[in-house]
Symmetry: C2
Subunit: 339 residues, 2 copies
C-alpha cells in the first residue's frame, strides 16, 4: 500500500491511503488520524489500512478523491528519529576527496551515519529556504525506510523485519558550511537543514522484485532545472543494506516506531574509479558535490555551480513500466530573508 | 508551574501538573493529554495549566493525588528535536585534552552543538542499559530548555521568549566509543545513547531570581553512589546563554514546538585553570571524564573509573531554601544482554 499525509493546517496533517498509480486517495480517519499514530500500533493498523488500500485500487472505497501531491506533507511531517547512513561509499569517497580528506579503509566495513534533525521536515513540493547562495546549496537524493520499534542491539539478520515503509528523501546539504562545521568535531548541524520527502511512503511489497529485503534495485532519477542529472541504480554499490544500517543505528539504544533511516546519497561506480556524469555518458550523480569532484579530477576545476535561488530539483523513482513509485520530490530554492 | 508526564503504558504518557513542593499532582486531561500536545498550542494551554497549577498549590484542585517521581517518564518521553550545546567551555577544554585534542580559539565565540537522538528518552529513575563496561559509561549533568516554535534565523536577542520550560538532563555518554566515532567525522551516534530527564519541567518563573532569562544561577548537584561528586553553579562560566544556543540551533532551519536545547555539561573554572574536584576542596564536576582529566593533570593518571554495572548517579538542583526544583534524576547502570 501507499500512504501520504495531506496538509490540513495541523502539525501532523491527515493520513490518506493512495492508489498504486498515485491518482486517487481516501482518508484513513477511521483507522488512524496520522502516519505516526499508524506506526505507533502498526500490527493493528497495517491490516486495516491494507483493506482500504485494496478498495482504493479497485475503486470500491467510499469518498475517493483525486490525489494531489502538491497538497502533501512529508509522510511524517515531523519524526522522533532521522538517522542518515552513507551506504554508497563512492559518494563518501568523492565528497571527502573534494574536502581534501582521505577515506579510511574502515569505511568499507563500518557504516558512517549522522544523527539528523527531524522537527521540521519539508513536503515534496515545499521550497528550500536558504539565507545565502554562499552556503553552497546542494541536494542529495536518497532512499529511506521507516521502522517500527527496534530493540537495542538488534542483529542485522533480525533488523529487516522492522522495515515497514520506504520513501525518497532530499537530504538538503549546505556544502559551504560543512568544512568549518565538521572541523569542530561534533558533526553536522547547520549544514543539514530540513530534509524533504516524497509524496508517498510505500510498503515493501509495492516494490515487487525491485526489493530484496535490503535494497531497492531501481534507478534514482534526479533532474536539475529540468535536465537529467543522475540515474544511478540504488541497488548497486550499496555497501551497507538497510538492515545493516538499522543494526548500526540501534547498537547502543532502541529505535522508536517511526524511526527514519536514510541510505545516504545514491552513487554508482559504473566499473570506473568514481563513476561518471550524464554529460560524459554515465549514470550521473544524486548530488552536485560529486559531479564537481569528477569535473575537478577530469579537468582541474569544478564547473557545475551549487544551486542558486530559483533553481529546481526533482527526485523520483520509476518502476520497470515507467510508473512513478513514490511520486516526485520537486523543490525550488528560494531566498530566506529572516523572521 | 511544574509539569510532569506519568507512565500509563502509552508512548507519550499522561500530562500532570505538580505542586511546587513536588508532593502533589493533578491530571491535566481536561486541558492537554500530553506535554507535546500542550507545547503544540502553548499560547492557549499555558494559561489553563497555570490555573490548575495554582489550584494544586493551594489545595483546591479536585482529585489531587500524591506525586511519585518513580512513576514519571521524561517530561517529553520522545521529542522531535534534541539539540545539545556545550556552553560550559571548561568542560569542552577538559574532555578534549583527555583525547589529546586542543581547543580552537573559536570555541569561545562559536557554540559547539550536537544533534541528539530523541526517540527513546529515559525517565528520571530508569536504568542506564549498556552492553559492556568497556564502553566507558559516564553521566553528564546539564540544564535544558524546551521551546515553542522558533523561526529560522532568529536573533539571540529575540530567542529568549521562546523558552517555555526548563528541566535537568543526564546526557549519558559512552567515553570508550567517542574517539573512534568522532574520528569518522560525522559526530556522535553510538556514544550518545538515550538521555534521561528530571521528573518535572518548570516554567521560568518557578526559578525566581535564579533565572535571568539566559541561565540558571544555582548549583547542579551530582551524587555518584551516594557521594557528592559535583556542585558547580550553572550560572557561572556559561559562555553561551540559552538564547544564544537557540539562535545557533535555528541558523539554517526552524525549530518545532517541543524542541529541547541542552546547556552541555555544567562546569566551573573556580578561578583556576580547569576547576577542581570535591576531594580537593573544589565544586567538583558534572561528569567523570572531567575529574579523570584533572587527576591526570595533577598526578599523571586517572584514578576515578567510569561507571560500572550497579553504580548509581543522582542529579538534582535545589533552591536557596534547599527545596528540589525539578526533582532528582536517579539512575542505576545495568548490563544489557541483548534483545
Amino acid at each position: 500500500m501507499k500512504l501520504a499525509t495531506l496538509k490540513t493546517g495541523t502539525r501532523d496533517g491527515e493520513l490518506v491511503v493512495v492508489s498504486r498509480d498515485l491518482t486517487k486517495a481516501v482518508k484513513a480517519e477511521g483507522i488512524a488520524p496520522t502516519l505516526q499514530a499508524a506506526l505507533d500500533d502498526w500490527e493493528t493498523m497495517a491490516p486495516a489500512l491494507q483493506v482500504l488500500s485494496d478498495r482504493v485500487n479497485d475503486g470500491t472505497a467510499e469518498e475517493i478523491f483525486d490525489f494531489d501531491p502538491a497538497r502533501a506533507e512529508a509522510p511524517l511531517p515531523r519524526a522522533y528519529q532521522w538517522a542518515d547512513g552513507s551506504a554508497y561509499v563512492n559518494h563518501v569517497e568523492l565528497v571527502r576527496r573534494a574536502r581534501g580528506a582521505v577515506l579510511p579503509e574502515s569505511f568499507w566495513t563500518d557504516p558512517l551515519m549522522y544523527q539528523g534533525g527531524s522537527d521540521s521536515f519539508l513536503g515534496p513540493y515545499e521550497d528550500i529556504q536558504a539565507g545565502d547562495e554562499a552556503w553552497g546549496i546542494d541536494f542529495e537524493g536518497e532512499v529511506a525506510i521507516i521502522t517500527d520499534d527496534v530493540p537495542m542491539g538488534v542483529a542485522a539478520e533480525d533488523a529487516g523485519k522492522h522495515i515497514k515503509l520506504l520513501m525518497l528523501v532530499n537530504d538538503v546539504s549546505l556544502r559551504g558550511l560543512i568544512p568549518a562545521e565538521l572541523g569542530k568535531g561534533f558533526g553536522f548541524f547547520h549544514a543539514k537543514p530540513s530534509s524533504a520527502f516524497s509524496p508517498v511512503a510505500v510498503t515493501p511489497d509495492e516494490l515487487g522484485g525491485a526489493w530484496d529485503g535490503g535494497k531497492v534495485s531501481l534507478p534514482l532519477l534526479s533532474h536539475l532545472n529540468g535536465d537529467l542529472f543522475g540515474k544511478p541504480n540504488a541497488g548497486e554499490d550499496m555497501t551497507f543494506t538497510f538492515p545493516k544500517l538499522i543494526a548500526h543505528a540501534a547498537k547502543t539504544r532502541p529505535l522508536g516506531a517511526g524511526c527514519i533511516v536514510g541510505s545516504g546519497t545514491v552513487s554508482n561506480k559504473q566499473d570506473t574509479d568514481h563513476g561518471s556524469a550524464i554529460a560524459d555518458g554515465g549514470v550521473g550523480y544524486s548530488c552536485i558535490a560529486e559531479v564537481r569532484m569528477i569535473e575537478t579530477i577530469n579537468s582541474g576545476e569544478a564547473k557545475t555551480p551549487f544551486m542558486r535561488f530559483g533553481d529546481r530539483i526533482k527526485i523520483e523513482m520509476k518502476d520497470d513500466a515507467g510508473a512513478s513509485i513514490f511520486g516526485a520530490i520537486d523543490q525550488q530554492v528560494v531566498k530566506y530573508d529572516g523572521p
